[in-house]
Symmetry: C2
Subunit: 353 residues, 2 copies
């Protein structure tokens, strides 16, 4: 019917004022500049006509779009929906909109997506795809782009970040297993080119060391990705090299799921023969078979905080970049149990200090 949507000029004409006046009346910040009665007439006319401001025109003029680019590896990875939701919730509350893209861990794709978001003049970016060495982010930072990383960090300093306390979470996992009497503890490490993988692995080594345990090198297997498939393959290698292990600290829950699958396939029971600890406490981890003992990370809150950090950065671009560290907490469920008897440490070539 109406054809094209009404513009500010249409509203102004309907009231008999200039569009500049209408603009001021409709914008809360400049509302005070116009006569209250006039403002009222403009407001009602706008509502009556169904006027919706054209964000493109506004953005073109003001060079602010109230849109934030959000980069994640893959939305179907259950880790990310809660984070994204947290981001959206906080952004929404401030009138911002998230522009969500998946990179699939592919650098070219990431560049293309990032470039698209830049062409849409996103005001800033929340990046969940950070690698420790990340040229794209370095370039963007150099250009003065507002950036925040979430879940992962970059080795490059200067980018605000929101992460969970991976080192502490790992310590809780190892502590739980040693308390259950395990000493032959293996680690299915996440990819080492991302901070979560590197930090957790380092923490694992440190904790084992502090507990006086000296696991053989083969008991730490690095997965090629944070996927069930990669976890399963790594587990196969691990069990081949270190058949005596009684517990596994997985780089994340998907890797843990892969471990569970491979253990079952090899006829080993979890938790009777081998205990498994995951990381993240992904949705429904408590409903798995067995319910997964894992380190809970506050995903939604991570999203909220990262959005908050970015919004602050937009207001105060010069402020010192800060890193928010959120607490992680071990959640004990059914995938861990006391170490089985009859597996002397010797069997795996492990020596107690």
């Amino acid at each position: 019917m109406s054809g094209t949507p009404p513009t500010l000029d249409d509203v102004a004409r309907a009231v008999g004022v200039h569009k500049a006046t209408a603009s001021r009346a409709l914008n809360p910040a400049t509302r005070s500049q116009v006569n209250p009665e006039t403002a009222r007439r403009i407001t009602t006319a706008a509502r009556r006509l169904g006027y919706v401001p054209n964000t493109l025109a506004r953005g073109l003029r003001t060079s602010r779009t109230t849109a934030i680019g959000v980069l994640i590896p893959d939305l179907t990875n259950p880790l990310f929906p809660p984070i994204v939701r947290g981001i959206q919730d906080r952004l929404d509350a401030h009138g911002y909109t998230a522009l969500l893209v998946n990179t699939d861990g592919d650098e070219d794709r990431e560049r293309a997506q990032f470039s698209d978001l830049e062409s849409r003049r996103a005001d800033g970016f929340i990046v969940a795809t950070a690698r420790r060495v990340h040229p794209l982010l370095a370039e963007a930072l150099a250009r003065g782009t507002a950036l925040v990383t979430v879940n992962r960090t970059t080795d490059l300093p200067g980018i605000p970040a929101v992460v969970s306390d991976d080192a502490d979470g790992t310590a809780q996992a190892v502590g739980h297993l040693t308390a259950l009497g395990h000493s032959l503890i293996a680690h299915l490490a996440g990819p080492q080119d991302v901070s979560t993988g590197a930090v957790r692995t380092q923490a694992f080594r440190h904790c084992m060391d502090a507990a006086g345990l000296r696991p053989p090198p083969e008991s730490v297997v690095v997965c090629t990705a944070y996927t069930e498939q990669a976890g399963r393959e790594a587990t196969r290698r691990l069990l081949g090299a270190c058949p005596g292990i009684t517990a596994i600290v997985a780089g994340n829950d998907l890797i843990a799921l892969g471990a569970l699958a491979e253990l079952a396939a090899q006829g080993r029971s979890c938790p009777r023969d081998v205990s498994v600890v995951g990381f993240n406490d992904m949705p429904f981890a408590d409903r798995f078979q067995p319910p997964l003992t894992t380190v809970r990370v506050p995903h939604h809150e991570m999203g909220v905080q990262s959005a908050q950090l970015l919004l602050e950065r937009l207001l105060e671009p010069q402020a010192l970049p800060r890193t928010v560290l959120l607490p992680a907490r071990l959640v004990v469920r059914g995938s861990t149990a006391p170490a089985p008897a009859g597996f002397p440490d010797r069997a795996a070539g492990i020596t107690r200090a």
Copy 2:
């Protein structure tokens, strides 16, 4: 360093041509209008300067943004990430971007979000929040807005849709249970104001009827939402009213999870005492305790098809709206088993025809 990003005019000046020429050279569609050699010089200059077209300015002029609004109830509902991913994959391939928002099933919030997307001049909308009666969509349709619904439909005709064959899926579920010897089959229905809930419930009744089974009215309990919590509450009511039932067809997997929880809480074993069938085959449904027998719906493909349908609509606004019906398939896992003996039909007041 560079301050503001380079504009088309910057590129043109660097080459010594008019910005209009640069525009034509950079746009594949108009490339043929400019001398190949000139075009080459413009292209290289653009690359050298790091020129990225300003989508806002372009959109303002052309009134096309290559952005599509996507409305979902809640991203953390595991049903939606695969659908969204499918949408994004197809849109990406055509240079479009998805603008994703959550409505949380709240009508006011939905209106606000929709209005925001309109202000961003989205070229069209993919709606996963459709209710059978949906004024917002009716209005948008009347305005000539490009719309597609996915997963759910509206009673209102005229909106293209992509849905799974819920009736057939339900029939497979009921058929599976009757084949296992169940006759006291209950239904935990989804909300009846959305098409999936209504269609599945209707199909359930039809199948039971066709099988000669006459379940009492209390054996069909409508859940207030597609959530685990609602499923659990409905199950409590169901077991109170019809303690004799041996099988449950749930409106979706989350409701099924709620049923499993309540059954366990009441000391009834699934599948030994009661069989449960879900709907959707959400991610990791195979890893649950017990692994869930459910009706698989091609989520990713639904997303892809809905994006495809919308893109077609943008090209051909007048084309007849078509509905794409994707096949559903029962996946038998561990939550269903033969009906236990010793539960005569009489016990639940059920009569065989």
